[in-house]
């Protein structure tokens, strides 16, 4: 072989090695991201911790097997490839070898199987539940309602959306269902995922060791805005949770006469109440304003806005109701201070007006929602999501002032 050919070959090898290293390194480093609230390797509660223990074990075993197999594969491919050598002697069957090669994987799988089954059964346990919460998915947001449970001071059901507020250090059982297509609820720090299926109730244990916010997102492709269907679990200390419950059940406070907010209430009654319920809101004639989302929205529901400003996010937990500075104050708060910060809700100073106004101006432009009125034939004229309402800037000012009072 000439020198020239040899160096060309070395160069080719070097290049191949460099590419492999680069691809491998970038994949490896992607695992070290700092701001990764949905990291499955960082459990923040006993259910997720149990899954984590299992996955370390399985990844370990699978890793060893994977390396052995890859090495064998590469060696076989290079060593025995056709270089014009005569075909080796052909034989059929080696019972001893075959039986060994069947028994080894069977043993590995049974070990993994025993631990997996135990984990599955532990995670399916419902007997020790302390609090149940109904979770209903629809395109493209989650609704939470809290059945009356005297132990927790919930004597009237509570309803909210986007952020699931729950007591920390408590065995919470969510009961999932869906109003349209299949969705899937996943807060990686607290447990695995579970599908929300129309017509069925699926349960999922959630437990957070400490107060804090735990992010997640819908993990079953559910249409146009699947990527904008997020959720957050907010764990509060038991005292803070009691305060939250009390506030959620507090009666409606109508805005004072002759304020911008009062005018906003009138606009709300005209434009919004056909979809959005605000508990306690009265029409001009003094009767209760009852929303009829079942007549206007395909899923049959729109978020209940009674306590909108007690949550930090809106529209499927995808946009913040808090400005950046204020949001950081809540998310990065120390565990002990977190509850008080969260319970402050959204104040006029902290409101992320930019995004809220954008939403009211044209919601479907912000979050794709099949809201084109000319294309509603397949859904009988009903919207999937919130439509464009052609509000004037003046009306938007009034609405923002009004929404700020819903706390």
């Amino acid at each position: 072989m000439s020198r020239h050919a040899l160096s060309a070959r070395t160069a080719r090898r070097a290049r191949a090695l460099a590419i492999t290293t680069m691809v491998g390194a970038s994949m490896f480093l992607a695992g070290c991201a700092k701001d990764a609230p949905q990291d499955v390797f960082q459990p923040k509660g006993e259910n997720a911790a149990e899954i984590n223990d299992l996955q370390y074990m399985v990844f370990g075993i699978a890793g060893v097997v994977g390396v052995i197999m890859t090495v064998l594969f590469v060696v076989t491919m290079t060593k025995f490839r056709d270089k014009g050598q005569p075909i080796p002697e052909q034989s059929h069957g080696k019972p001893a070898l075959e039986i060994t090669l069947t028994i080894i994987p069977a043993l590995i799988l049974s070990v993994v199987g025993v631990f997996t089954t135990r984990t599955i059964f532990n995670l399916a346990e419902t007997k020790d539940t302390e609090l149940v919460i109904n979770v209903t998915g629809q395109q493209w947001w989650w609704e939470y309602d809290y059945p009356a449970q005297e132990d927790w001071g919930i004597d009237q059901p509570i309803i909210t959306s986007g952020q699931l507020v729950m007591p920390a250090d408590t065995k919470v059982l969510i009961r999932e269902t869906s109003r349209d297509v299949i969705h899937s609820y996943w807060i990686p720090a607290l447990n695995g995922k579970r599908d929300a299926v129309p017509g069925r109730i699926h349960t999922l244990r959630l437990q957070a060791d400490n107060p804090g916010i735990y992010a997640g997102q819908c993990t079953e492709f559910c249409g146009l805005s699947h990527a904008n269907m997020r959720m957050e679990a907010v764990a509060l200390s038991k005292d803070d949770f009691a305060t939250w419950v009390k506030n959620q059940q507090a009666a409606y406070k109508a805005p004072a006469e002759n304020t911008l907010a009062k005018e906003g209430e009138a606009v709300f009654l005209n434009q919004c109440v056909r979809c959005h319920q605000v508990n306690g809101l009265k029409k001009a004639d003094g009767t209760a304003a009852i929303a009829a989302p079942d007549e206007n929205v395909y899923a049959g529901a729109a978020p209940n806005l009674s306590k909108l400003m007690s949550r930090n996010t809106f529209a499927g937990a995808t946009w913040d109701l808090l400005k950046k500075e204020c949001r950081g104050g809540v998310w990065d708060a120390k565990s002990e201070e977190f509850g008080a910060k969260y319970l402050e809700g959204v104040s006029a100073d902290c409101l992320n007006e930019v995004d809220l106004r954008r939403w009211l101006r044209n919601a479907p432009a912000m979050k794709p929602m099949y809201a084109d009125p000319t294309k509603l034939e397949p859904t009988d004229g009903k919207y999937r999501g919130m439509p464009y309402l052609a509000l004037s800037e003046g009306d938007i000012d009034k609405l923002v002032a009004y929404l700020l009072t819903l706390k």
Partner: protein
């Protein structure tokens, strides 16, 4: 080196790449379609590379490979089937979608069979080996599909027969047939001499008889009782009072899937109604049900007297007259230690007309409040 086997994959790679470029230029540059074509190109390139690298792993010389090409092609019906498929496709477009779908099935099946057969018939100079190769590629498809078709025909024929004959005759037929199958199975297992021709003939005769009977009973229709029930809508008709309906009312709804996904359970024990929420063992006084969502409430009667669960859901307007009447829904009558499911889909929040109520006729003065937030 481009080996014989890798040509196909390289061809796919090139075509997919061209298609991707055209797609991105003329249809949509950032669309799932482009991603799919790009993935196809890279997958084909990988397979092509592997095939080249291993030098096709089979053919050792050009001579050997070309010897295969001299084999005469065996006779095949597949071109005919493909043609029939195309005709059905066109015909189906104009007439019936089922014909269209069958056309697609014939087309795809014929094309796959034809392609593989043609490929196999040129694989080597040995026609025995070639036909084995064809079997190895196609039997894993042909056997399951064939078996599924046969099982489907058996199931449909059998169900036609069972829906036609009376209920008690149905039970007898079921017992006799399944016992026969069992006995036959035992005999064949114990006496290998019974295998082969005799058993094949027997099965064929049985199959033909079953299909024949299925066609006859299918044409003559379901038994009178079922026809009447369908016409009079007995399946959905239920009275919420204490009386029992004629045919089906007394039979609890045993759909396992419904019972396995309930929101709440109402139990009657010693004349008392007890509500529990699934996942929470302690009894509750109020049940909360999400609006506009179909949910199951399980009714479990532990008393010897028959009971049914009634949901009182406010009022509704009767469409034509505008008269308001009570909106009620109920389970069928439920005997001792039996369960029944009530599927509720409540559209209006309970602040509009509620709280709604769950009651059991006969147990007066007891009710469970239902909140719909």
């Amino acid at each position: 080196m481009i080996t014989t086997g890798s040509k196909y994959f390289y061809g796919v790679t090139v075509l997919a790449t061209i298609a991707m470029v055209l797609y991105m230029l003329f249809v949509n540059p950032n669309d799932i379609g482009a991603v799919a074509l790009g993935s196809l190109a890279s997958a084909a390139a990988l397979l092509g590379g592997l095939t080249s690298f291993t030098r096709d792993s089979t053919a050792h010389s050009v001579k050997e490979a070309s010897a295969a090409a001299t084999q005469p092609a065996p006779a095949a019906v597949w071109p005919l089937i493909v043609a029939v498929g195309i005709v059905m496709l066109v015909f189906g477009l104009a007439t019936n979608p089922i014909v269209f779908v069958l056309g697609i099935v014939a087309l795809v099946a014929g094309a796959v069979e034809w392609l593989v057969q043609d490929y196999a018939s040129r694989a080597s100079a040995d026609s025995e080996f070639n036909s084995q190769l064809r079997g190895r590629l196609l039997h894993p498809l042909e056997f399951p599909v064939g078996a599924a078709v046969v099982v489907g025909i058996i199931a449909i024929s059998f169900s036609r027969i069972m829906l036609n004959i009376s209920k008690s005759a149905g039970a007898v037929v079921f017992i006799v047939v399944s016992s026969l199958v069992l006995v036959l199975g035992f005999l064949v297992a114990l006496k290998p001499s019974m295998r082969g021709r005799a058993i094949g003939t027997l099965c064929s005769v049985g199959f033909v008889a079953l299909v024949g009977a299925g066609i006859v009973t299918g044409i003559s229709g379901e038994r009178a009782e079922l026809v009447e029930a369908a016409e009079e809508d007995h399946y959905s008709h239920m009275e919420c009072g204490a009386e029992a309906d004629k045919y089906f009312d007394k039979h609890p709804n045993n759909a396992v899937s419904l019972k396995s996904a309930t929101l709440a359970t109402i139990t009657v024990r010693d004349g008392k109604m007890i509500a529990t929420l699934s996942g929470l063992d302690a009894p509750v006084e109020k049940v909360t049900i999400p609006a506009s969502s179909p949910v199951q409430v399980l009714f479990h009667n532990l008393d010897s007297e028959e009971h049914r669960l009634v949901a009182e859901l406010g009022e509704k307007k009767v469409a034509d007259t505008g008269v308001k009447e009570k909106s009620e829904q109920c389970t069928q009558l439920t005997g001792e230690d039996q369960v029944n499911v009530l599927t509720l889909n409540i559209r209006k929040p309970s602040i509009a007309a509620g709280p709604y109520k769950l009651t059991v006729p006969g147990l007066e003065g007891q009710e469970i409040e239902v909140y719909v937030p």
